[in-house]
Subunit: 153 residues, 2 copies
């Protein structure tokens, strides 16, 4: 589907798919993120990381998750309609993100549920599969989004 900034709850249906742009990650990006949020040696120190189970520097899983969200938001599916996000489910890191990798996601609408108590909105669930440049799925998650119905103001 062609992205738009004007999608509302009624515009989503289970099975719709959106492909994101790609984004590249450098060693410097990985280390900078890890210093702020996840200072484990295999995210910080390429030499020490070589002795880890990963065999080299890998991005914090939080970094992979944050980049997966960034490419999703860059689809600009909504602007007026988004209210917020209640959460994420089944976040899974399958293959590490390494320096020089480029990732992109395929995002599929996995559920659309109008609220019973507040029918001017509903929850749209998005199932994300994030691929590296070798077409391997490195990361998956499901995000929940509270989205306004059209004309809800």
């Amino acid at each position: 589907m062609r992205p738009s900034r004007d999608l509302f709850l009624e515009d989503f249906a289970v099975g719709q798919r959106f492909e994101t742009e790609g984004i590249a990650v450098t060693e410097a990006d990985i280390i900078a993120f890890a210093r702020q949020f996840d200072p484990q040696y295999f995210h910080l120190d390429p030499v020490a990381a070589a002795t880890s189970a990963f065999g080299g520097l890998v991005a914090s899983g939080l970094h992979t998750l944050s980049l997966a969200m960034r490419v999703f938001f860059e689809l600009n599916l909504w602007e007026r309609a988004i209210i917020g996000s209640p959460g994420l489910d089944h976040v899974r890191w399958l293959i590490p993100l390494r320096p020089g990798d480029t990732i992109r996601s395929m995002v599929e609408i996995s559920a659309v549920k109008r609220s019973r108590s507040k029918p001017d909105r509903g929850v749209v669930s998005t199932a994300h599969r994030t691929f590296n440049q070798h077409h391997q799925v490195i990361f998956t998650m499901t995000c929940l989004h509270i989205v306004r119905a059209r004309g809800a103001g």
Copy 2:
């Protein structure tokens, strides 16, 4: 429990609790994180955010999640024992994180399962409740960690 850098799989038991240190977040922190990973207006622009459902600038949920992980890692529960993380479950944002807030987490061991196929390791699950300075639970999640057994090398 008193944190240590030397905990292994056998050292964890369901019900153990660890309290993290606190961390404060500024408006500048919130905007800088959002620019990188979650450029939605209610995370970027205090004036526009006042018209959102949040009534003011709020941190990206990813930022809250990343800070919750940071204070957890700062407990330094393990260093030699950690292999990596397979994922997160039931990530829920309950109350927004706002400029000037200070958060801390209570982390409880919710499951410890030795691997059948690789008995030198197992999965430790941690249930996180993150509080603001008003003692409100603003965020919860469960993290999975692959942890080496003692003497596994």
